[in-house]
Symmetry: C2
Subunit: 111 residues, 2 copies
């Protein structure tokens, strides 16, 4: 079991690849073995393992041995880092508009 610190550059590089995004989509239904992960993809098992390693190294996926089978699951650390990046990118201007919206909502409640 390896756990790496998320690096936003590596996360975006990892998810820039459509096969790796499809793997994340498959894993969002629940943990599964590497060989089951490989099923829908028309690539070698070695290539699948390599893609999983890229996802694991940037904190998007975690793998562990369950008996003799390597099991994969989504690791929230990478998703958290991405969500934070998105939040930070929303401009000050938008956040100001949001606060204005909250103010109006509060005023409505008081009526």
């Amino acid at each position: 079991m390896r756990k790496k610190k998320p690096n936003i550059d590596r996360i975006f590089h990892a998810l820039g690849d459509p096969t790796r995004r499809a793997m994340m989509e498959k894993l969002s239904h629940g943990p599964m073995s590497v060989s089951r992960m490989a099923e829908p993809f028309d690539i070698t098992l070695a290539a699948v393992v390599q893609h999983i390693q890229v996802l694991e190294e940037c904190g998007l996926v975690q793998t562990e041995m369950v008996g003799r089978v390597r099991s994969c699951r989504i690791e929230p650390t990478g998703l958290d880092a991405m969500e934070q990046w998105i939040k930070d990118r929303r401009s000050l201007w938008e956040r100001r508009l949001d606060r204005l919206g909250d103010l109006f909502a509060e005023q409505d409640k008081k009526r």
Copy 2:
């Protein structure tokens, strides 16, 4: 002014490029002209314009003419689509753990 429907594949492709990510970071401080956007990058203005077009076409950036100057700003549509993708990738398992956490928190409040 163009506004395109966000496509998650194009968004991830766009943000897979470090220059485009740096542009998003610059824009998160507020709207600015294309030429001011170009300032810190060691590439031609034409290349900057091309990067901005990629960001605009997937709904991450919006540009409009203000007098004779083209102004850029972050467009929330693309960020919203990304946030939704992240939410959908969090496994059912994690969401179940969250609900369990909420239940414990509610029980604590009742004591």
